[in-house]
């Protein structure tokens, strides 16, 4: 069985390592082969960019060599895929190499596209890459007071970032002694402050207590940089001094270019995680790349990867898949003032977030380091 994994991010790496552990004897005997094709020789822990934006971490702390994270027996090629020939069971890379497969796993992630909204790229700061997170810090560091406006694009990865970035900036501004000169203005696309009802029920009173203004049903249409105004699809206009955005996202260009899914997100079966359509039988999709109506989060990628690896190993050993993905997601929520909470939910159970506390924040900080064990498939 030739298994080709496209993408060496959270989903691809956890899947490949988990599978390699389950198939160690098959790999040694040459009965199975795992090849990973990816776009970078570095593996980045993206959740750390939030802390880079606040000056609490540096980008180098968030990176490891991709090769150092993989189980022996996984063949790594830093050579991105350019063409998916699903009818012929092969992919072609940028370097022109063809890789034949019996099973293909696509986990190429998602990318921020602030350029999709007129004026957003030029006028807003965000923390969705190391460079942007450092620019974010510079602008926040220079901030001397005024209105900080937060806008949220759809879809976006990490559903908690809108709340977290607001709470954390509030801390930053308070610690600089600028709170009395600053107004926080939080906006959100739907009729409450977060997509998860129970999280919104907790977050809105926290915002009120901190004097953070909230406007719901705000979907950004355009930013007028000359007048420092953000306008919504719903007809509202808000002036800003510092514009902070959670940009809208798309999947990778290569997914769109190969017509695998609108906006780069691949139609995926919610339980089996196989691609929908005629070639789905031997194509699995994991992580941000799916079009599933669940959070684009590292934990989603992790739980999906575990289910898929168990199924593929079982398929090879016994001829049958054994597990269905239940939509499980777990997200920490940084709540500011050294506290955090979390939300855990799946397709059928909504989350019941608890009051934030210091222990959960300490756990998140520890997880930022433990992630590397998780990527290796140990945790």
């Amino acid at each position: 069985m030739r298994i080709v994994v496209v993408g060496g991010g959270m989903a691809g790496t956890i899947f490949a390592n988990n599978l390699a552990r389950r198939l160690s004897s098959e790999l040694r005997a040459g009965k199975a082969r795992i090849t990973m094709l990816t776009a970078s020789d570095r593996h980045v822990y993206q959740p750390g960019w939030l802390y880079v934006a606040l000056g609490r971490m540096t980008p180098d702390e968030l990176e490891r060599e991709q090769a150092s994270l993989l189980e022996p027996g996984i063949g790594l090629h830093v050579d991105p895929v350019k063409q998916f020939n699903l009818a012929d069971n092969n992919v072609v890379t940028e370097a022109g190499k063809t890789h034949e497969y019996d099973l293909l796993v696509i986990a190429t992630g998602s990318r921020p596209v602030p350029e999709d909204i007129p004026g957003l790229q030029e006028n807003a700061i965000h923390c969705y890459s190391a460079d942007n997170a450092m620019k974010f810090y510079d602008r926040l560091n220079e901030f001397k007071g005024g209105r900080i406006l937060v806008t949220v694009g759809l879809p976006h990865k990490c559903p908690m970032i809108p709340l977290e970035i607001t709470f954390c900036m509030h801390d930053f501004v308070r610690e600089r002694g600028l709170l009395d000169k600053t107004e926080f203005y939080y906006t959100y696309p739907i009729g409450r402050s977060h997509s998860l009802e129970n999280v919104a029920k907790w977050a809105s009173p926290e915002f009120e207590q901190l004097g953070i203004r909230q406007e719901t049903f705000f979907n950004l249409k355009e930013v007028d940089g000359a007048n420092a105004v953000a306008r919504s699809e719903e007809g509202s206009e808000i002036k800003y001094d510092l514009l902070v955005t959670v940009p809208p996202h798309r999947g990778q260009k290569v997914i769109e270019a190969n017509n695998l899914g609108a906006n780069g997100f691949i139609p995926t079966d919610r339980a089996s995680l196989h691609m929908q359509g005629e070639h789905g039988n031997n194509v699995i999709v994991l992580g941000d790349t799916t079009n599933l109506p669940i959070s684009k989060a590292g934990s989603t990628a992790h739980f999906e990867a575990e289910v898929a690896a168990e199924n593929v190993a079982s398929l090879i050993k016994t001829g049958r898949a054994v597990r269905a993905y239940d939509g499980k997601v777990f997200c920490f929520i940084e709540a500011g003032r050294g506290r955090a909470t979390y939300a855990m939910f799946n397709y059928s159970k909504p989350p019941q977030p608890k009051a934030p506390n210091a222990a959960m924040h300490a756990f998140k900080m520890a997880y930022n380091k433990l992630y590397w064990a998780s990527a290796r498939g140990v945790l």
């Binding site: 759809l154 739907i190 049903f217 609108a262 109506p293 799946n346």
Partner: protein
Amino acid sequence: MDDHAVVDARGSFCPGPLMELIVALRRAQVGATIELLSSDAGSAKDVPEWLNKVGHMLERSEQDGQGVWHIFVRKMK
């Protein structure tokens, strides 16, 4: 109505049916109809509320035997 796009947001707590609909409408052509599937009773209320604010049209909304809401929306601008 036959070739309309379907957005299956059953079992979606986060991002949730309305956010899925907002994304799909952004992508759609003016005049296109989208059918939103939602298992969340809240959608029958918050989807029309948003449509009203933003200026797209609610064509109809109905619940099937399994309790799933089918909400048909037309992009108007």
